[in-house]
Amino acid sequence: MSARRIFARPARRAAIAPYVWMALFFLVPFIFVVKISLSQTAIAQPPYTPVFDLTGGVGAIKAAFAALSLDNFKLLLSDDLYVFSYLRSLLVAVVSTSILLLIGYPIAYGMARLPARWQSVAMMLVIVPFWTSFLIRIYAWINILQHDGLLNQILLALHLVSTPVVWLSTDSAMYLGIVYSYLPFMILPLYATLAKIDPALLEAANDLGSSPRQAFWLVTFPLSLPGVGAGVLLCFIPIVGEFVIPDLLAGSDSLMIGQTLWLEFFTNKDWPVASSAAVVLLLLLLAPLLLYDRLQRRQLEAR
């Protein structure tokens, strides 16, 4: 018992670290955001009321609490602009994540079946783009996709098109940018689970009468589902809130929620509405996270 207590103590202390981190850098700022989302916009510094002022005593704080309201959330629900932004964000995230899975799975599968020494090379190739700044890579795409860019030059040279195609400021360009940027986040968790699958399992499936294709669907795919879940979440959640890629590559006729938020915050200087939009976004993303967490817990319990 005593030995166990000695070892348990530093471990328990270390276990607190992530909670402290989350409290300081997520929970406290989030409380500020929630508070601002319940406030009203004002031409002032800071640009909202009420402002909690401890110097005013208990009465002033009570009055500040009384001034909080849910008006901003009502506005979000009543204005098409916000509802459409949310819907578009979800649509873009669903479509991009599906494309990412369709492209990422075969790549990860191929990597996992390479000879060990080529696997690390393939891994490097997946990670290498991270060495260049994300923004620079998106700007490079603008270069490639623009009117007289590389893509149009190639298409013209091959006589596949007779006049340059408009790529920039289209949804295609945005999807291209998103898929390009997020692919490593899909590949890496998939690769990690696929590489762990014992090849003897496939031989066993084969031995018991399944063709290689059946063995894939009956053994490999079900065993790779935790990786699929992790990859989908790692891509889906940030894509919903994506701002830079749609702003630089997509047209301006329909906005994703990230762009709307930016507009409210920086252009309209409406911090309370921007904050409430952020709170709703977080609540939306909580749903898939909780679902994933539940599935994982069920898997752990099954063990």
């Binding site: 031989e203 018991l208 399944s210």
Partner: protein, 391 residues
């Protein structure tokens, strides 16, 4: 094979010879000059072997000897570079693994972690397109056979090592394969469990009348379970024999050393004396051996004697009872004694400097027959106890 010689002169005859006689003679599995290379490494080197229906056959050998490669070729996971594998007269060397009437029990069981015990066992039956109700019956039968009742819904992670081994066995038996291949099936079990499982496997094989081919590096395991053992080294079969033949009449020095403990004395064959082969050894003087084969005089040979064939005594057997050719005697000093319960092993340092190993059963509870280190003893063995092996 005589069949070929008989048909050769009438090869032009329009009607082919009836094949029934050949088929009746055919073993269930014939491995015919099979070879497999990995790069320049010859894993299996033109190996031929016949296995009869209902046999419990063990492939025994050190790691890297090619036994697993041979087994994987029988399962279809490797394709032979040369040669044929005839199962029931049909060449299956190029048949894909999922189309062979052969199943394998894998070394680390390779149970599907996402499927329950029931679904693991039913896996092969579903692929065979068996109706649902038949699958249920067969699974229940298999579960009862390997005594897994009540565990059908468990996942492999929730099973003990012994239970996993049973699931793997049930899964590989469920399709009623013509041949069951077992790749080191007991290697992951602890000693006690391994011994009881060996007996269960033998009992099961006898009850089902199925042909089992087991790969193992554990000679005791092979000796206990198999009716015949093929000893492999460097991609070749060194000897195929019953456990007793393998131990008492090893075909080569390598086999004698690989299977069990042995004392080896190098020497040269001298002219006969009566029906005794006489070998002049460097370390143990002249040894008289009873040997059915007749080695060439002056040939360099080695004499192999198993430790339990060598008796120790203070004086040796009375010389008036037997003539000089009937008993080999060596004198030396006991240098090491290991008491192992059922028997005791002794190391005896001979006067020539060579060390002889003897093991004697502890048939009496009291230690009146025991020798202690430093004691001078006579080690003796009969010509029948000697095996003469050509180098």
């Amino acid at each position: 094979m005589s069949e070929d010689a008989a048909t050769a002169p009438i090869a032009d005859s329009p009607k082919p010879e009836p094949q029934t006689a050949v088929v009746a003679d055919m073993p269930l599995l014939r491995i015919d000059a099979v070879a497999k290379k990995f790069g320049t490494f010859r894993a299996v080197d033109k190996l031929s072997l016949d296995i009869r229906a209902g046999e419990f056959f063990a492939l025994l050998g050190p790691s890297g000897c090619g036994k697993t490669t041979l087994l994987r070729m029988l399962a279809g996971f490797e394709t032979p570079d040369e040669g044929r594998i005839l199962l029931d007269g049909k060449d299956i060397a190029q048949v894909l693994p999922h189309q062979r009437p052969v199943n394998m029990m894998f070394q680390n069981y390779a149970l599907f972690p996402h499927l329950s015990v029931r679904d693991n066992i039913a896996f092969g039956l579903k692929r065979a397109g068996m109706p649902r109700s038949d699958i249920d019956t067969r699974v229940a039968e298999m579960v009862a056979l390997v005594k897994l009742d009540g565990l059908e819904k468990r996942k492999p992670d929730q099973l003990s090592g012994g239970q996993k081994q049973r699931v793997a066995l049930a899964r590989s038996l469920a399709r009623r394969p013509q041949v069951l291949l077992l790749d080191e099936p007991l290697a992951a079990l602890d000693k006690k469990l391994r011994e009881s499982t060996q007996l269960e496997l033998m009992e099961l094989q006898r009850r089902l009348g199925m042909t089992f081919i087991i790969v193992t590096h554990d000679q005791e395991e092979a000796m206990t379970m198999a009716s015949r053992i093929g000893v492999m080294d460097a991609g070749r079969l060194e000897q195929v024999a019953t456990p007793r033949e393998l131990y008492e009449a090893p075909a080569s020095r390598w086999i004698a050393e690989f299977v069990g403990e042995v004392n080896l004395f190098d020497g040269q064959v001298e002219p006969h004396e009566g029906n005794r082969v006489v070998v002049a050894t460097r370390d143990a003087g002249t040894i008289f051996a009873a040997e059915p084969r007749d080695p060439v005089t002056k040939a360099t040979v080695c004499v192999a004697i198993r430790p339990e064939k060598i008796k120790l005594s203070r004086r040796g057997p009375a010389s008036d009872v037997v003539n000089a050719h009937a008993i080999n005697r060596l004198e030396g000093v006991v240098s090491d004694v290991s008491y192992l319960g059922g028997f005791t092993t002794y190391k005896v340092k001979l006067d020539s400097g060579a060390v002889l190993r003897s093991s004697m059963a502890n048939t009496a509870r009291l230690d009146i027959d025991a020798y202690s280190a430093g004691q001078r003893v006579m080690a003796w063995f009969t010509p029948d106890d000697c095996v003469v092996l050509e180098q």
